[in-house]
Amino acid sequence: MKLHLENGPAKDQLVATLQGDLDLYASVEFCNQVTRQMEAGRPQLILNFSQVRYLDSSGVGAVIRLVQKARSLKGEVRIVGLAGTPKKVLEMSNIISLVKVFASLDEAKAWS
């Protein structure tokens, strides 16, 4: 899995764009990398899932830890481009209720 991190338009925003499968082989490193950036002053996290086709319980666990981290830093987690198996897995584990889902990256960045 490839991960691209960039700053959002707001100074406390972090945009994480994932490409590939967020599975048991990738989730720990993904979570650690994003957490470090959130702790560096960017707790408003936007996860761009538009190029993610596979999400397993390890990946869901990573999302949960990031929601917990965001909450502890007075931030929140927004998800963009959710579809297919990742969407179904987040729904079946009820974790969809802990994040805000947006249709486009622009909407997620603009929403406040």
């Binding site: 599975d23 596979y54 830890r65 917990q68 198996t85 897995v89 079946m92 584990s93 009820n94």
Partner: protein
């Protein structure tokens, strides 16, 4: 009118029909955690496309295989993971490891009941704290939620044997498949 929350739970039933392997195909694998998804893909290579639901079936089968290899067989390559499968009309699996069994099954059911109650009551702080199950065998890469999605996905049942090292599951499909 009273409202009730119905919460599913993991069931132990040695004599359940989901353990009847008659007519099922069989495969066995060494306990290599790096090959979890390879094993799942191999089993599903002859699956009718209509059952796959994108890669959702592969994902759910991979979770069963991962649990058996990692938590059951402790990734010991000398230990075998056994899989019986039937991909006709509906999807059925029996997955058996050589481990000591899921000893925290009742504790997990209690955790899941508290988690779903918090969700039902809109208590999101409690729900967030209970979002992942952390048992004595959990590590950093364990999401702690595979069984939660599994109870939803395996809509015809998810049953453990008495020793709790074998699970039987079935998913039914409502429309004409495949």
């Amino acid at each position: 009118m009273a409202n009730y929350l119905i919460v599913r739970k993991l069931i132990v039933d040695d004599r359940n029909e989901l353990f009847d392997a008659q007519g099922m195909k069989y495969a066995e694998f060494p306990s290599d955690l790096n090959k979890v998804r390879v094993y799942a893909t191999e089993i599903l290579s002859e699956c009718p496309p209509g059952f796959l639901e994108g890669n959702l079936l592969e994902q759910q089968l991979s979770e069963l295989i991962k649990n058996g290899i990692k938590h059951g067989n402790k990734s010991d390559p000398r230990k075998i993971l056994r899989v019986w499968y039937d991909l006709r009309k509906r999807v059925r699996f029996i997955v058996e490891d050589e481990g000591e069994g899921f000893q925290n099954l009742e504790e997990w059911n209690d955790f899941f009941r508290r988690r779903q109650t918090a969700l039902y009551q809109g208590d999101f702080d409690t729900f967030l704290n209970l979002a992942s199950y952390r048992g004595p065998l959990s590590d950093e890469s364990d999401g702690g939620n595979s069984l939660i999605a599994a109870l939803e996905y395996w809509n015809g049942g998810m049953i453990y044997n008495a020793r709790r090292n074998k699970v039987g599951v079935v998913r039914w499909y409502s429309s004409a498949q495949p």
